[in-house]
């Protein structure tokens, strides 16, 4: 080997090193490269024909951006888009960037069902972040169950539902209504309640649960109950009734644009929520106050799991990111924050399942924990979230002062015994 047969042969030491180096090359090619190993091939993560490619996955956004519910649902759309952009900035889900298709439910429940069908059947989205009112959710439920889609539903609602294909990011009745009523009966020594609501399933069912709790469990009195169609603008008669009955607490579940008329007329009628009349609502978030005007609702109490004024580093970062994306005048209500949780929970569940297939994602979901702005939330087996309840008092600037937080997370119980 050390014989030098002319210029065409390299010196033996160099040749040895060269040969060793060349032998090493195939070995290097066999080393796992971090980039390739973390992106599972599409055939492995998508066996049901969803809209997934090697570098993208498509989900749907289905909310009302027109009509009487636009005041409430626009915030949810903004939050979901913020979550999607943050997840994409971190590398996406299973190595894929999230694309979204947005549809407008137009505050009309049949339109929600139609758009849901379009998203699941034509667009084949991997999941839908959508709906706000219980009526819209009930309208799309058969569509999701028929086409095996997943819906991430952000709003607090009346419970009594546990669909295999829906994840409920908002609180259900026992978490929101019962804990709220207990607090107000305790702190305000309330004896009489006047129940008010918009006329559809959520306020009616919620008031039914509230009445049962007030009468059978708290042994107090309900002195009146009234309902008004969504979009109604005349509340003077019921305000007169309330003034006559003089209830200790007005329990208001007015939804959407009607809130503006109700609180303006309440203030104009001289009802003083700061000093004399206690009002507890479960349907007015910072989003609605933007339309109502802080000075018209100052002093009212709201029972929510999230307020924009929560003072934790996670929430402050979230509020800053939201305002950076959507403008410094933005406000963030309970449902908006819950909608923000939707894409994050879905992405964590997909990573856990290693797949976008809806059945695998649903199976992997229970136990998933996400560090939300409200605090860490965990997915329960019944597809709801463990969360705390907070009571806030409305300020004139449109924000809430938090006056009470439940010490522990409340377990979700959509079918409470004794309330049906």
């Amino acid at each position: 080997m050390s014989a030098n047969n002319g210029r065409s042969h390299l010196p033996s030491a160099l040749r040895r090193r060269l040969l060793l180096g060349m032998a090493a090359l195939p070995a290097a090619a066999l080393l796992p490269r971090p980039v390739f190993a973390d992106i599972p091939p599409t055939s492995a993560v998508n066996t049901t024909g969803l809209a997934v490619t090697d570098d993208s996955v498509t989900i749907g956004i289905l909310h009302s951006i027109t009509g009487t519910m636009a005041i409430s649902e626009t915030g949810s759309v903004e939050a979901e888009k913020l979550a999607i952009s943050q997840i994409n900035a971190k590398g996406g889900v299973l190595g894929r960037q999230i694309k979204f298709i947005q549809e407008d439910g137009a505050s009309d429940w049949p339109t929600f069902a139609e758009k849901a069908r379009k998203l699941l059947v034509s667009d084949k989205v991997a999941a839908v972040m959508g709906c706000w009112t219980s009526a819209s959710r009930k309208a799309v439920l058969p569509v999701f169950e028929q086409y095996k889609g997943i819906l991430y539903y952000p709003t607090f609602y009346e419970g009594l539902e546990e669909s295999h294909d829906v994840f409920y990011e908002g609180q259900e009745a026992t978490q929101q209504i019962i804990a709220g009523l207990n607090w107000i009966a305790d702190t305000k020594k309330a004896k009489t309640f006047y129940l008010l609501g918009s006329d559809y399933i959520w306020p009616r069912t919620s008031n039914k649960i509230a009445r049962k709790h007030i009468e059978d469990h708290l042994h107090l009195e309900v002195v009146g109950e009234d309902y008004f169609p969504l979009g109604n603008t005349e509340f003077n008669s019921v305000i007169n009734k309330i003034k006559l009955k003089k209830p200790d607490v007005i329990y208001a579940i007015i939804v959407g644009g009607s809130n503006v008329a109700f609180y303006k007329q309440l203030k104009a009628a001289g009802v003083d929520m700061v000093n004399k009349q206690t009002l507890l609502t479960i349907s007015v978030t910072e989003d609605e106050i933007r339309g109502i005007g802080g000075e018209n609702i100052v002093g009212a109490y709201a029972a929510m799991k999230y307020f924009q004024s929560i003072d934790t580093p996670t929430n402050r970062a979230f509020v800053d990111a939201f305002k950076k994306m959507w403008g410094p005048q933005s406000v963030i209500g309970d449902v908006t924050q819950a909608a923000y949780e939707g894409p994050w929970l879905w992405s964590l569940e997909c990573e856990k399942a290693g797949s976008f297939d809806t059945e695998k994602v649903i199976a992997a979901a229970p136990g998933t924990v996400f560090n939300a702005p409200e605090g860490p939330v965990k997915v329960h087996e019944n597809h709801h979230l463990w969360s705390k309840l907070r009571i806030g008092r409305a300020r004139a600037d449109g924000q809430y002062d938090i006056v009470y937080v439940t010490p522990e997370d409340i377990e979700p119980n959509p079918f409470p015994k004794g309330y049906q």
């Binding site: 019921v238 007169n240 009628a269 109502i292």
Partner: protein, 307 residues
């Protein structure tokens, strides 16, 4: 009776009466503009609600401008806003009449479709300019709160304002229609368009001005409604059904009829709402209106004209 004391009952009646009157004023404001357009010209204007909301948005803009630049004059901004709302909506109405409606006078069903399209167009304009969510209109301080007339009777100030405004506008409309030369021309055109044209009345100008004034009144109504309701692009749809109901129920060609029917419907609605729930009250009132219209299709008051 119902577990209330006599003092309470009289307070109830007083407050309900006032609320009924306030609702009555609201209904009159809504329907006076449409009564002129539909009654006098036979044009079915489905965009009437949107002209009202135009007035509301003008008020919103005024409120912002005064808030930022003319804070000292803020207490009177509402009057300025109403005047501007009248002119804005009136001009828009005249424009709509010139561009769209005047081609369709002989085709009432087509005006229905065309004005429906106009309403959708206007809604989308508001959505694109102001956003799809509610805008909050701040009231000057003197308009908030209530007047205390006795211990339990409280009358909202903005309600009194709306009532006052309605009286002023109704009187203005009557003076205009029955005491001015323009009003005479309008009535002439309404009764017999061909003859009116033959004696030298410029029917086109009269129609345009009438449509403009009807829309202008709608603008003032919308401006007043920022006090009691919400302002968003589709809020016009909430008012249009009630407005047509009142105009048709009262007899399309009679302004007195419009006022009478506004009174009947508002009192019925507000009384029924007190004793039943809101939805049931609406059902009851609507069923009664349907029943009465079936018995008397021309409405409450009919103009006696020779045909």
């Amino acid at each position: 009776m119902f577990g209330y004391s006599f003092g309470d009952l009289s307070a109830i009646f007083a407050m309900q009466a006032f609320d009924g009157l306030i609702l009555f004023s609201v209904f009159i404001l809504m329907s006076l503009g449409l009564a002129i357009i539909f009654g006098q010209m036979g044009v079915i204007n489905m965009a009437h609600g949107e002209f009202m909301i135009m007035g509301a948005y003008v008020t919103y803009l005024c409120s912002n401008v005064f808030h930022h630049y003319l804070l000292g004059l803020y207490p009177i901004y509402f009057f300025v806003a109403m005047l501007l709302a009248f002119f804005a909506a009136g001009t828009a109405g005249m424009l709509a009449e010139w561009a769209l409606i005047r081609h369709l006078y002989r085709r009432p069903l087509d005006t229905l479709l065309a004005t429906w399209g106009l309403s959708l167009f206007l809604q989308q304009c508001y959505r694109s300019i102001f956003g799809a969510r509610e805008v909050g209109v701040d009231l000057p301080n003197w308009m908030m709160g209530a007047v205390h007339a006795g211990d339990t009777i409280e009358i909202p100030i903005n309600g009194l304002f709306v009532m006052g405004l309605t009286v002023v506008i109704t009187i203005a409309v009557f003076v205009l229609l029955y005491r001015s030369s323009w009003g005479k021309k309008v009535r002439a055109v309404m009764q017999n368009r061909v003859m009116a044209g033959a004696i030298g009345i410029n029917t086109e100008k009269v129609d345009r001005l009438t449509f403009g004034i009807g829309c202008g009144i709608a603008g003032i109504a919308g401006s007043a409604f920022t006090m009691i309701g919400s302002t968003n692009p589709s809020a016009g749809q909430l008012y249009i059904v009630n407005t047509f109901l009142i105009v048709v129920f009262g007899g399309a060609q009679s302004l007195i009829g419009t006022i009478a029917s506004a009174f009947v419907i508002s009192q019925a609605q507000s009384t029924a709402e007190f004793f039943l729930t809101g939805s049931m009250a609406t059902v009851l009132v609507l069923l009664s209106v349907v029943g009465i219209l079936m018995l008397r299709p021309q409405g409450l008051f009919v103009l006696k004209i020779r045909r």
